[in-house]
């Protein structure tokens, strides 16, 4: 008997029972899904399903008081919107409001952050004061500014009165309505920009500043060579967020002007509210919402294209 025959190899060897490693392997495979599962479920329930339902709703004529009693109307809501001057007025108001709010909020917020990043006495108190508007509830902000802008008794008219300017209808005159709403919005959101940019500024290693100082660089050169490259990604992200939030902002505009005077601040979101609750036309409101969503997506796409271009440049 040869050794070969006497010691027969296990022909179909049963894998050894390795319970613990197998479970570990399985856990490694499924654990990512368990971790992201709740977030995915949340996104599906609270974001994707409502968006899909909203888009579905936009192809129907559905009264507010009977949301399950809608009838399909195809593209009628969209065609009526796109042929209506009010919609373009609303779109224009949205773009104007968003552009003005974002430009001023980012410029003033980033500028304030640069100033407050300098060492000076009382800096902490100044930072706290500038952050204060962000902490004020939006409804309270709108009410306070409505008193400030009040034509007959408002503080602003008292101030301009001292300068010899007559009473102005800041919230009732179409010339000033948008400016008043933008001013209020900037006051409210600017501190967030400041805080985010300030956090970014504080993460810049001080060695870099020392190096530029040793190289004899001036303030402007230092800003261009060190500060801006560090804070630029943050500024871009905060600009994107500010843009999307401004497109969607409702309370300040609605409480201050209700979309007036003469529809000058009737942004898409205010228009959605009017269609849904005042006119009780959920289908048409959903169509405006869907077009607003397209606007937000466009902004996001532009942002990511810019990011990709910057990444390519850096590479």
């Amino acid at each position: 008997m040869s050794l070969r025959t006497s010691i027969s190899p296990p022909a179909v060897a049963q894998p050894p029972i390795q319970d613990a490693p197998s479970r570990h392997h399985m856990w490694q495979r499924i654990s990512p899904y368990i971790y992201i599962g709740p977030a995915v479920v949340y996104l599906i329930i609270f974001m994707i399903v409502p968006v899909v339902q909203g888009i579905q709703l936009s192809f129907t004529k559905t009264p507010l008081v009977k949301p399950d009693g809608g009838t399909g109307v195809g593209l009628e809501n969209y065609s009526r919107l796109l042929s209506s001057p009010q919609f373009y007025n609303s779109l224009g108001a949205t773009i104007l409001y968003t552009a003005a709010t974002v430009i001023f909020a980012v410029a003033i917020g980033a500028g304030s952050a640069l100033l407050l990043n300098q060492a000076f006495k009382g800096r902490t108190i100044v930072r706290a004061i500038i952050t204060f508007p962000w902490a004020v509830p939006t409804v309270a902000t709108a009410l306070i500014f409505s008193w400030i802008f009040n034509r007959s008794d408002g503080v602003l008219n008292e101030v301009v009165g001292v300068l010899g300017v007559g009473q102005q209808g800041w919230l009732v005159d179409p010339k000033f309505g948008m400016a008043a709403v933008v001013l209020t919005s900037v006051w409210k959101v600017m501190p967030l920009v400041m805080l985010v940019v300030l956090a970014s500024l504080q993460s810049i290693p001080s060695e870099l500043y020392e190096a530029t100082r040793m190289d004899g660089a001036g303030a402007l050169e230092t800003f261009k060579a060190v500060t801006w490259p560090h804070i630029a990604p943050t500024v871009r992200v905060v600009t994107l967020l500010m843009t999307i939030w401004s497109i969607r902002r409702f309370e300040i505009i609605y409480l201050l002007t209700g979309g007036g005077p003469v529809d000058t601040t009737n942004t898409l979101v205010v228009n959605v509210y009017r269609q849904a609750f005042s006119n009780q036309e959920l289908g048409r409101a959903a169509a405006i919402g869907a077009l607003g969503l397209v606007l937000s997506l466009l902004v996001t796409v532009v942002y990511f294209m810019m990011e990709r271009r910057n990444a390519a440049k850096e590479a």
Binding site: V65, S152, V172, G258, V262, F277
Partner: protein, 421 residues
């Protein structure tokens, strides 16, 4: 033998079936005598003084039906209709509620209110008055009058005397009196709603001017926004708006505060405003309130009607209907009359003699109900707010930009025609 999975499945199914079953406590059609809790939705519970008085008045229902419990469902006025519509759209909401007729009509038209035919057919005592027609939609009674608030013209006698002006009887005199108050006292002469931030109330307020000139927003079959009468009403409002004697930019709440504090000469507002002002004013007593028999315009004015209705999806509909029947009864009306003050109610229950004597202006407001008109647009009742949104936007444009009232209303006519398809 039953395994664990089968056992758990059966248990779960039993629980679901038990939950679906109509137990007596959950049957929405159980008899009113079975009692239960009625959630009563209103913004008025928040009105200082008046809300508490109303709530106390309706507690008398529990003497008639001791097993019934009334519970408040309170939402501020500005968001009341939105919240109610959303709740009813989701087949929820309070069991019984009050709602303005412009918001009531679409609810009734959509068939989501419980019919109140039995309330009308079984009603005894003082008959329901004509105001209850507001609760009749598509031939079915879905609501009864909670209160009708009529707009009227009133003034602060002290300010008028100080300025040396007599009560105006037409628009020209109104403008002149308002300007005289401004120049003689430095106070605001005349206040009335005038801006889109208050659209939900302003569009009803504004009917005072167009109705007052004999206008209507439709003839029942087509919109008549740009009629000569409406143009006259808009022009009249434009004249007073631009007179310089109005506190432009003030909302109704601010103007009422000014009147209460003796800082505003004349107003056009509803009856409950005068009652509210007097309840909280340190500067004014009832004797200081001057009032007209009607608004100084050629034709009858407008009213704001608040309707009492029952939620068709309510959990205790029969009890709610029974409660509404009690509100319409002589007992209910008498209880409410004291709390409501100068409003027109579902029946012609008179003011308490002592109240009428102390508040001589109250009867004038109530009497206006005989010829006042609803803000609902005939033939387009359910679309009233949507139509008025277009109209008031053009009115606002005319007010702030100037220009031609006829052109503004012609634009509104075109837009409304497009809106209605």
């Amino acid at each position: 033998m039953i395994d664990r999975r089968t056992f758990l499945g059966a248990a779960a199914a039993s629980m679901v079936l038990a939950g679906c079953g109509a137990t007596p406590g959950n049957d929405p059609n159980r008899a009113a005598s079975a009692g239960g809790t009625l959630k009563f939705g209103s913004w008025q519970w928040l009105e200082p003084g008046r809300g508490e008085a109303m709530w106390k008045a309706i507690q008398a229902y529990q003497k008639v039906n001791p097993s019934a419990v009334l519970a408040q469902s309170t939402t501020p006025f500005l968001s009341f209709a939105d919240k109610l519509n959303t709740e009813l759209g989701g087949k929820g909401g309070p069991d019984v509620f009050v709602v303005q007729d412009v918001n009531f009509y679409p609810l009734a038209d959509a068939g989501i209110l419980a019919p109140l035919s039995s309330v009308i057919s079984s009603h005894k005592g003082t008959p329901f008055n004509h105001t209850n027609k507001s609760g009749l939609v598509n031939g079915v009674q879905y609501g009864i009058t909670w209160e009708r608030l009529n707009w009227n013209f009133f003034w602060n006698r002290k300010i008028m005397d100080k300025a040396g002006v007599t009560p105006p009887t037409n628009v020209t005199e109104l403008i002149s009196a308002a300007s005289q108050i401004r120049s003689a006292t430095g106070l605001d002469g005349f206040g009335v709603r005038h801006q889109m931030t208050e659209f939900d109330s302003w569009f009803m307020d504004f009917d005072v001017w167009t109705y007052g000139h004999g206008g209507s927003w439709s003839d029942g079959s087509r919109p008549t926004i740009d009629s000569a009468e409406n143009i006259a009403g808009v022009k009249a409002f434009g004249e007073i708006y631009r007179s310089g004697a109005m506190p432009i930019g003030d909302d109704a709440s601010t103007m009422r505060t000014k009147f209460r504090e003796g800082r505003l000469g004349m107003m056009i507002d509803v009856s409950s405003t005068v009652a509210g002002i007097l309840r909280s004013s340190k500067a004014l007593t009832s004797a200081d309130i001057g009032f007209a028999e009607r608004i100084p315009l050629p034709k009858p004015s407008a009213h704001q009607e608040i309707v009492l209705a029952v939620n068709g999806y309510g959990k205790n509909k029969n009890l709610a209907v029974d409660f509404v029947g009690w509100v319409g009864s002589d007992e209910g009306q008498a209880a409410l009359r004291a709390a409501m003050g100068p409003s027109t109610l579902a029946t012609d229950v008179p003011l308490a003699p002592d109240y009428a004597a102390a508040n001589p202006w109250a009867k004038a407001f109530i009497d206006l109900a005989s010829e006042s008109r609803s803000p609902l647009i005939r033939g387009y009742e359910a679309q009233t707010k949507a139509i008025m949104r277009e109209v008031m936007t053009q009115v606002e444009r005319y007010l702030v930009d100037g220009g031609d009232a006829a052109k503004a209303l012609a634009t509104a006519q075109t837009q409304v025609t497009q809106l209605l398809g």
